[in-house]
């Protein structure tokens, strides 16, 4: 063994060791080797390397074939989505009797509360009377005493009869005489109260007419006024 022997496996030295015997190397290669080790060491190292490669290349007993299947199963389990609570609930096994009874209950509910379907048969049209809002009304002038407590005292807003307005003196005299008299009895009809009779529909109107028949003091009766009668008939 040479004193300047290297302490590492040079790539070229390794190549030469695996390439050929020392004797078969070229002069340059032999010189390269000889700089690092003697021929005997080269041969021993070469033999060890070649034999080691041969031994190491020998196939070991075969790998257990079940390992692949087990690993694939592990892979599947590891990457399968984690079960959510809903999934866990859905995947939970249910006894058969529970499933059957649930289905039976659902069927019973459907039969009991079966929705009915109404079939409408369209018949011939029938004439019906539809009452409309009555907008027809009458104005009835009434005679109101000046000292009636229902009339406001403000003289400017009291509508005084036209005849009385002609002579203020007579009005004043009349007022004096009325004050001295006893008060008039309370009005018995709406007409006496001075409001306008109104009715929302014809039925109300007819009722009002019957309850408070118009006096002949003003206007004309409907039987006489043909035009008004015709108007009302047309409307109703």
């Amino acid at each position: 063994m040479k004193s300047n022997e290297p302490n590492y496996m040079d790539e070229r030295l390794e190549e030469l060791l695996l390439k050929a015997d020392f004797a078969d190397l070229s002069k340059a290669d032999q010189a390269y080797v000889y700089d690092r080790m003697d021929a005997q060491t080269f041969e021993e190292s070469r033999q060890a390397l070649l034999a080691s490669r041969r031994v190491l290349s020998e196939s070991p007993p075969p790998l257990d074939p079940q390992i692949r299947g087990r690993l694939m199963e592990q892979m599947r389990q590891h990457h399968s989505p984690k079960p959510t609570p809903i999934r866990q609930l859905a995947s939970r096994p249910v006894p058969l009797w529970q499933a059957v009874s649930a289905v039976a209950a659902a069927v019973a509910l459907l039969l009991l509360f079966r929705p009915t379907v109404e079939v409408l048969v369209q018949g011939p049209p029938q004439m019906v009377y539809e009452y409309k809002t009555d907008t027809v009304f009458r104005e009835v002038p009434i005679q109101v005493a000046m000292d009636t407590p229902n009339i406001r005292k403000a003289p400017s807003k009291v509508s005084t009869p036209r005849v009385i307005n002609r002579n203020p003196r007579r009005i004043a005299g009349r007022m004096d005489s009325l004050r001295s008299r006893r008060p008039l009895p309370a009005p018995s009809t709406p007409s006496d109260l001075g409001f306008v009779l109104s009715a929302n529909d014809s039925a109300d109107f007819q009722q009002v007419i019957r309850q408070y028949p118009p006096r002949n003091s003003g206007g004309r009766p409907l039987t006489v006024d043909k035009e008004l009668m015709h108007f009302i008939t047309e409307i109703y």
């Binding site: 302490n7 070991p60 690993l71 892979m75 590891h78």
Partner: protein, 217 residues
């Protein structure tokens, strides 16, 4: 339908590993087919030709791939990372074995296996001279120090380049070269002593030194 299936055979290891991280089973199957035998062979050699352990370690190694596939950095070369993980597994096994304080050392186990040829290696039934030589060599390899043996196996069994070995073992290239050199020298010395003592044994067994020397390539 099959026209749209990916051709995983043409994928690089790194691309397959990315797919494995996303849960692609076929990519995992492809990686397994590429590396299972190699890694089994590696474990078999590093774990003193213990077939059961080699199987278990191979399975555990691929299990790490399944569980920690998402943490793989695709910038790293897959085979380097994979061998490094395998090497660490072996190292841990040695440590745990030494912690357990096993009275039976590795070399004793090997010797016991070698004493029973059928148990040690079922492929050699006849104790011929070459087998004896190979067993001697195998024993010598297995008795190398762990770092030297790792480099030696990676270099001459898995035929990895020195640069990649240095990345796997986490040492400079010079250290790897040095380990390879010392491993080779140690083996050659062991074989030399074997060959020197062989002629005496050969008279009994009917083998000769020339048979061994003729194995040269």
């Amino acid at each position: 339908m099959f026209a749209f299936r990916k051709k995983y055979e043409s994928y690089s290891d790194e691309a397959l590993m990315e797919l494995v991280g996303k849960g692609d089973e076929r990519a995992f199957g492809q990686l397994y087919d590429r590396y299972a035998t190699k890694m089994h062979h590696y474990f078999y050699r590093m774990l003193y030709r213990n077939q059961e352990k080699a199987n278990d370690f191979t399975q555990d190694l691929f299990l790490k791939l399944v569980e920690k596939g998402a943490s793989y950095d695709p910038k790293r070369k897959f085979s380097t990372w994979f061998y490094a993980v395998a090497g660490n597994m072996c190292k841990n096994e040695y440590r745990s074995r030494s912690r357990r304080g096993s009275t039976e050392s590795m070399s004793e186990e090997i010797i016991r296996q070698l004493a029973d040829p059928g148990m040690a290696d079922p492929y050699f039934s006849n104790p011929i001279d070459r087998d004896s030589f190979d067993k001697e060599l195998t024993q010598a390899i297995e008795q190398l120090e762990w770092p030297h043996r790792q480099c030696f196996v990676l270099r001459y069994q898995d035929e990895l380049p020195i640069k990649q070995i240095s990345e796997i073992v986490g040492c400079p290239e010079g250290t790897v070269k040095s380990r390879l050199y010392y491993a080779t020298r140690k083996l050659s010395e062991r074989l030399k002593s074997y060959q020197e003592g062989r002629p005496r044994q050969a008279k009994k067994g009917g083998a000769c030194k020339k048979t061994i020397c003729d194995e040269k390539q």
